[in-house]
């Protein structure tokens, strides 16, 4: 708290990045809840079938959210190119891998301090590559494959009809889709823990930055090595 007066606010998350974050969070929440309901429909609708459309509604919103999720991903992929330095991932640079090792050591309490990051650190970036990008693309392909089926005609068929033969049968496609849905919940838990932990330890406005866009530069962050950065945990320095 004593730092606030001397720390400089930095505009880290541009509006498109913040929008992506919240649209993504919303879409994933809808997708997870409706998806789980489609898999395990627990409510029993009384009366005549004509009076209800529960699963149909779930499938409808699952589909709407899926298209939003996909469009949002494409939009974010564009912003890797168009956005500021904090919106990029440069995993081909040596410094990225050095930061990854340092960050892992920091989280294993093997280092008391770590270099400050205004954006994401390398570990956070890797987790986004895996959970959001790789899993996201797998979710998109398995999900749309189940919508499209095996008819190869049309745009949807051209893009997605290969997935079911690729995974051998649709049951496997469903299984992969269902298991990966849980990965998002695991991610959410760890994500929230690390974000709040970072904010509490360094008081750098990590939590509010995803709404305001601003984070507070730490005294050790001055070098602004934006190549690797961290929303989840910038600097924890001795005496901080």
């Amino acid at each position: 708290m004593k730092h606030i007066a001397i720390r400089r606010p930095v505009y880290v998350w541009e509006l498109p990045v913040r929008l992506f974050h919240w649209i993504n969070a919303f879409a994933i929440a809808v997708l997870f809840l409706t998806g789980m309901y489609i898999a395990n429909p627990i409510l029993v609708a009384p009366g005549e079938a004509v009076m209800h459309f529960i699963i149909g509604t779930m499938r409808y919103w699952h589909g709407i959210a899926a298209f939003i999720f996909t469009a949002n991903m494409i939009y974010r992929a564009f912003w890797f190119w168009a956005g500021n330095e904090y919106a990029k991932i440069r995993f081909w640079k040596k410094v990225f891998w050095q930061d990854l090792i340092n960050t892992i050591r920091y989280y294993l309490f093997m280092r008391a301090e770590h270099r400050g990051h205004l954006g994401h650190n390398a570990l956070a970036q890797i987790s986004y590559i895996v959970f959001i990008w790789i899993f996201g693309v797998v979710m998109i392909f398995t999900g749309f494959a189940m919508r499209v089926g095996t008819d190869p005609s049309g745009v949807g068929g051209m893009l997605f009809s290969w997935v079911i033969p690729f995974m051998h049968n649709e049951n496997m496609v469903r299984m992969v889709h269902h298991v990966l849905a849980w990965a998002y919940v695991v991610f959410l838990l760890i994500h929230l823990y690390l974000v709040f932990r970072q904010d509490i330890l360094d008081d750098d406005a990590t939590v509010s930055s995803i709404i305001s866009g601003y984070k507070y530069e730490l005294p050790t962050t001055g070098q602004s090595e934006a190549v690797h950065s961290s929303d989840t945990q910038p600097a924890l320095t001795k005496g901080d």
Partner: protein, 363 residues
Amino acid sequence: MESYYHWAVQKGITRRDFLKFCTMMAGMLGLEATAIPRIANALETKPRLPVIYLNLQECTCCCESLIRSSHPLFSDFILNMISLDYMETLQAAAGEQAEAARKKVMNEHYGNYVLVVEGSATLGEGGIYCTIGGVTANELLQECAAGAAAVIAYGSCATNACIQGAHPNPTQAVPIRRIVKDKPVIDVPGCPPIAEVITGTIVHYITFGTIPELTSLGRPKAFYSKRVHDGCTRRAFFDAGQFVEQFDDEGAKKGWCLYKVGCKGPVAYNACAVTEWNDGVSFPVKSGHPCMACSENNWYDSSTPFYTHLAEIPNDVIGKNPDQIGLAALGIAGAGVIVHGAVTSAVRGRSNKDGSDSEKDTR
């Protein structure tokens, strides 16, 4: 050779019935009305198609389905209209004579006959698990496929090795596609498949001289591009959220959706819900039994236990269902977060103490 129409007239089939058959075929194949005269023309002019039907590693349920195609013209078609020159189960000849008949057809119609294969090939121990006439099933298949215009893999054994291909697959049963690579192979899966599907596929071949359009799984689009679920008579109950929980409950009496008692219709690409069985009498789900997805690859591994809800089927590799895997992962992550948080606060408490001490010193 005589044409189909010529043969049909000899059998006492009227022109009207013949045209009805052509119309029905066009409808089944999903063709437009202009295709009807083309079908009629093809059947009037083209010679009967020689067919060799091999029975490899199988249980003959496909053949049983075939001969039960109940529309008179369909059964006539299968048993008489095509020139079914070799089929162990139905032919009168046996032994040397049977093999001689097969070789004669293969020589006389080299490149022009259709090979229908029921049952899987087998690679284990050099293929000794299935031998016919002194040669292994694989050799017989390759020999017959060499001169075939097209190969129809009839039934799940031929398309995905079915039950004998289930884990651990002791005989190394493989689909026909894995053996026959240089000919067009049409998959007509099901355990057994619907007879009308093979009839339609053959009519398509006779009419247009090409194999029908296939789905990405290599099956005729006309019959296999939709799931059983998509055309199911109980689909309205699925969409409404009305499910049978047990086979003897109120929902079962009302004909609600069988999803929760193990219906695999949502993952089964087959024509059952549309074409139905036994001249359109019914199909399993309509009759109150969950679909087993018998037309799908590895269905014996991925659809079992048969009466378990789709989402609760354990993964083949891990042995747990997706929700168990997910909850376990979430539990581990939660425990990790708690431990990490506790260690963090312990470490921080110590370093804060150090830090404040040192700050005091500097002041």
